[in-house]
């Protein structure tokens, strides 16, 4: 008799229907036979005995049916109990087995969790930047609509122009390819409060914009086309502002706010979820009407294509609409339509794409590790499994047992992975630079989560079960008969070797990529910007208000302020320019250089022009390469300074001094004479191109809407605070913003820094995983050879020789992997080379770093298990078998 538990364990008792039905029949037949024999023995005739036996049994047809019914009940019930008992037993068995190998279990669960968690977190970040840059419904059909010059732009600057209101009207009236077109402009507004004006962000939108974006006012109403036609001064508050400044009061509706010079009536509140279509912008504080009938306006235009319409089709439709409109014939000839995908506007796209590539690599490393942890374990359990197979455990039963175990393991890993993914994403979001503010709304990418979990879990299940089943099936007899744990075959050893090579290769790629990024960011931080941003502040004056209507009153503000700032005595330098250093203004027209073939009459070129005082270059710390700063700032003198890029483009190594140029709207435009060449300036930071041609013209008493006073402080915060106080005292109603020029240059490297940081964290993780993998393989290989090592040492082989042979195998695998990885990295880094700063494609430092780090990790992974093996007493090692 086999005990229940044992029987269940080996799965001997699950029976099929025909089997138990036959058993019931057999039982009845035996009973009738024995009964008849009993009666016959008492002297009945055989016939009479049989009849009597049948009578005593009961009417055969009904009683047989009743018995079969009872037996069926019994079988079903027992199967259920058996199943539950099996499950309970499998689970507790699995828990016990896993618990016995706590280290192994922890490493496997951690590998799964890290693989799933890290991939999900990082890919969620990447996808929210690249795949879903606009948080609107049907974002996949969103395009930005721009115009660009259709004919020659001899300065070579690529310019996109926001379309003018008449053009937008023509498109809105005539387009069939677009479901919707929405204009959007943003600006800063000064909210007049009791003590001083406060700067806020405002957006101008069409009445339909909230619906287009899938939102609606949370309080009050949206303005209508009629409101706009009546030129009513209406405004909606952003939810954030409403909550912080107005205490989320409902009675804010109907109140007035003074923005700049005008008074507006608050008619509603728009939710914080209504995001601006400008990547990286925070939601505006004020939402105001954008009047498409105001011909003076240009606007950023966002469109939603009808399903199935290509960008090309839509572009040509818009082009032909402009041509036919006749409203602005010149615009039709000068500009053509250009559509841009929202993700085109994400900077460092390729770096982000590479980051998602890295995600995939880490996921693969994790999968390989799981595979390999399970393979090693299977091999270690070879005898147990073989023994059970030999004792008659059916394959299905073993399968269930292994399934339970693998499921427990992978479920734990996946659950922990989801948790890690969530925490990782929160961390990455918290670390976001201001240039990637849209990450604030990033959410866990469920597709990635599912894919990552499925991949790791499936690889866990596959290698956990298939390997073991094969192992149990193949050599059940051999193992048990000979009593030796035969190594589970060259094939699985090769498989594990291949996994190590793969992991090493993947890690090598990651290390090369991460090192290149780190070096690039370090270069960026120490890059020569062509000027000295430290301690430089721009005091930007908004002179558009009616208080400074005349040129004289504007000039009075500028001279008055600069004088007082000069008297402050704490500033090293003060200068005045038309724009702050990190902004651009362009002149548009035919660009002519004296002595070169004049461009065709239809040409429109764009060239950046900064109007600056002569001491601008000294204040900014810009080197004059040739000539000098302006000696005569009058318009009549016509002096101009060009940047290095400009000089090189037109005159190469020759001196451009004395040459003449002009940007002509007409032939009467006066010529300007070059008096100096200034070094190229990367005022937007080192990641932006800085050799584009640009001109400096003298800042004189032109009527300007805005002006920037640029001051260089000694670098301490107190002196800029004093500047702030002085400006406020000078005129409390003057809208002023003071910006740190250095911040502007730092912002531009914030994104690559972030990518670098994430990538480095990630690489470290991959490396740890790969090292664990290598360690596992080496530890296993050494454990397998303990017997062998024991014999060799017992026979007198020097321990050093033995150690060398073990370590060499590990080193060979690591080297092979590293070599493959470096070749792949060499190919792969081409893709991101253009986004790296000052790092060569085959940067020897990065490649060397990969080799050193990998070999170091490999050495640790090999040496520890080898030392352990050598420490074993030879006799014990031999007896262990």
């Amino acid at each position: 008799m086999i005990r229940d538990g044992v029987r269940r364990f080996f799965n001997l008792a699950l029976r099929r229907r025909d089997q138990w039905e036959r058993e019931v029949e057999d039982e009845i037949r035996l009973h009738l036979a024995l009964r008849a024999e009993q009666f016959a023995a008492q002297g009945m005739s055989p016939d009479a005995a049989t009849t009597e036996a049948m009578r005593r049994f009961g009417p055969l047809s009904t009683s047989r049916a009743r018995l079969l019914d009872a037996a069926r009940h019994r079988e079903h019930h027992m199967q259920r109990t058996e199943f539950l008992a099996d499950l309970k037993q499998d689970t507790s068995f699995a828990l016990r087995t896993l618990g016995r190998q706590k280290g192994w279990t922890a490493v496997t669960v951690a590998t799964l969790a890290l693989g799933i968690g890290a991939t999900t977190a990082v890919f969620s970040v990447v996808s929210s930047l690249l795949l879903h840059p606009l948080p609107y419904p049907h974002a996949d059909r969103m395009v930005f609509v721009y115009q660009e010059p259709s004919t020659g732009n001899s300065t070579g600057i690529s310019v996109t122009i926001t379309p003018s209101a008449p053009v937008v009207r023509a498109w809105m009236a005539g387009s069939h390819d677009f479901e919707a077109l929405e204009g959007y402009n943003s600006s800063t507004v000064m909210l007049q409060t009791r003590d001083q004006p406060v700067k806020y962000q405002a957006a101008q939108i069409f009445p339909t914009f909230p619906r287009f974006a899938g939102e609606k006012p949370i309080l009050g109403r949206m303005f209508t086309a009629q409101d706009i036609a009546r030129r009513d001064h209406l405004v909606l508050l952003g939810e954030q502002l409403w909550r912080t400044r107005y205490g989320a009061q409902r009675n804010v509706l109907g109140t007035s706010v003074t923005l700049g010079d005008s008074t507006y009536t608050v008619i509603g509140v728009l939710p914080a979820a209504l995001r601006p279509p400008v990547i990286g912008d925070a939601p505006p504080d004020f939402w105001m009407p954008l009047d498409v009938n105001n011909n003076n306006l240009g606007m950023m235009l966002l469109g939603r294509l009808r399903p199935g319409i290509t960008s090309a089709a839509a572009t040509s439709e818009l082009d032909s609409l402009v041509a036919r409109s006749g409203t602005d014939a010149a615009a039709g000839a000068l500009f053509r339509t250009r559509l841009a995908q929202p993700s085109d506007r994400v900077r460092f796209r390729d770096s982000l794409t590479m980051l998602s590539g890295a995600v995939l690599l880490v996921l693969l490393v994790a999968c390989a590790n799981v595979a390999h942890l399970l393979l090693a374990r299977t091999a270690a359990r070879h005898r147990e499994l073989s023994l059970r197979a030999a004792l008659g455990a059916r394959r299905a039963r073993l399968f269930r047992q292994l399934l339970t175990e693998s499921l427990l393991l992978t479920t734990a890993g996946a659950a922990l992975g989801v948790l890690l993914g969530w925490m990782g994403l929160r961390t990455l979001v918290a670390m976001r630079p201001s240039s990637l503010d849209e990450l604030r709304v990033a959410h866990l990418d469920t597709t990635t989560l599912v894919v990552a979990a499925a991949l790791t879990v499936l690889s866990g299940l596959f290698f956990g079960i298939m390997g073991a089943m094969q192992s149990a099936g193949n050599t059940a007899q051999n193992t048990v008969r000979t009593g030796t744990a035969i190594s589970p075959g060259r094939r699985s050893e090769r498989a594990r070797g291949a996994l190590v090579v793969t992991e090493m290769a993947l890690s090598a790629m990651l290390i090369v990529g991460a090192t290149m990024f780190m070096r690039s960011v370090s270069n960026l931080q120490h890059a020569d910007l062509g000027f000295q941003p430290r301690g430089l502040y721009a005091v930007n004056l908004d002179l558009s208000s009616s208080r400074y209507a005349t040129a004289a009153s504007k000039a009075a503000v500028i001279t008055g302020l600069t004088q007082q700032l000069n008297q402050l005595g704490t500033l090293r330098d003060i200068t005045v320019a038309g724009d702050p250093p990190n902004s651009m203004s362009f002149s548009i027209g035919r660009f002519e250089v004296d002595g070169e073939t004049p461009p065709p009459a239809s040409e429109t070129s764009f060239i950046e022009v900064k109007s600056v005082q002569p001491n601008y270059f000294r204040t900014m710390g810009i080197h004059m390469l040739r000539g000098s700063a302006f000696t005569d700032t009058t318009a009549a003198a016509g002096q101009v300074i060009v940047n290095e890029g400009f000089a090189r483009k037109h005159w190469g190594a020759q001196s451009p001094l004395g040459h003449r140029l002009r940007i002509a709207q007409s032939d009467s435009e006066p010529w300007l004479t070059i008096v100096g060449v200034a070094a190229d300036v990367a005022s937007f930071g080192p990641t932006m191109e800085n050799t584009a041609p640009m001109l400096y013209t003298p800042f004189n008493d032109m009527v300007l809407r805005s002006t920037s006073i640029i001051v260089r402080t000694g670098g301490n915060a107190a002196s800029i605070a004093r500047v702030r106080g002085l400006v406020r005292a000078f005129d409390p109603h003057l809208p002023v913003t003071i910006e740190n020029v250095e911040d502007g240059t730092a912002t531009s490297i914030a994104t690559p820094r972030y990518v670098m940081l994430t990538l480095s964290l990630f690489t470290a993780l991959a490396l740890v995983l790969a090292a664990i993998g290598l360690y596992g393989v080496m530890a296993y290989a050494v454990a397998q050879r303990t017997h062998d090592i024991g014999i060799r040492i017992a026979l007198g082989a020097p321990r050093r020789t033995v150690a060398r042979s073990v370590i060499l195998r590990g080193a060979a695998l690591a080297l092979l992997g590293a070599a493959i990885g470096l070749v792949a990295a060499h190919w792969g880094t081409r893709l991101i080379q253009h986004e790296l700063y000052g790092v060569a494609k085959s940067d020897p430092v990065s490649f060397a770093a990969a080799v050193i780090v990998l070999l170091g990790a490999a050495a640790i992974a090999c040496v520890v298990p080898t030392r352990r093996a050598l420490a074993v007493d030879p006799i014990t090692a031999i007896r262990a078998e």
């Binding site: 009961g58 018995l67 009872a70 009940h73 019930h77 027992m78």
Partner: protein, 118 residues
């Protein structure tokens, strides 16, 4: 005296009792019961098998195929530990019940409480 029909529920108990000492197949159980009751109980043979299946389903019995003395394949039933415990408990309560009923039915008149109407 004609044989008595078996009271509902008592057949299970009798079957368990039959298996108290040794595993038996169906016919052995029937024969044992007939001998033990000296022919006083009337059990339809098929009802016995139904009882066996029911008890097996409840986990009070377990069954294995074995070979009889005459070299015939038969299904042998044995008490499980749950079955043994059940038998012990049920026997106790059955005996108490039977004693009580017997005592009432056989007691002399004056030893019983008087009814209201009397």
């Amino acid at each position: 005296m004609p044989a008595l029909p078996v009271l509902k529920g008592t057949l299970d108990l009798l079957v368990l009792r039959a298996l108290n000492w040794t595993p038996m197949h169906g016919f052995e159980i029937v024969s044992w019961l007939e001998q033990a009751a000296h022919g006083a109980l009337d059990v339809e043979d098929s009802a016995l098998y139904q009882a066996l299946y029911r008890l097996e389903e409840r986990g009070l019995l377990s069954a294995e195929w074995g070979v009889t003395g005459n070299n015939r394949k038969a299904r042998y039933y044995r008490l499980t530990s749950a079955g043994r415990a059940y038998l012990r408990a049920e026997t106790k309560s059955w005996v108490r019940y039977a004693e009580t009923v017997t005592a009432i039915l056989t007691a002399p008149r004056n030893s019983l409480p008087a009814g209201d109407a009397a």
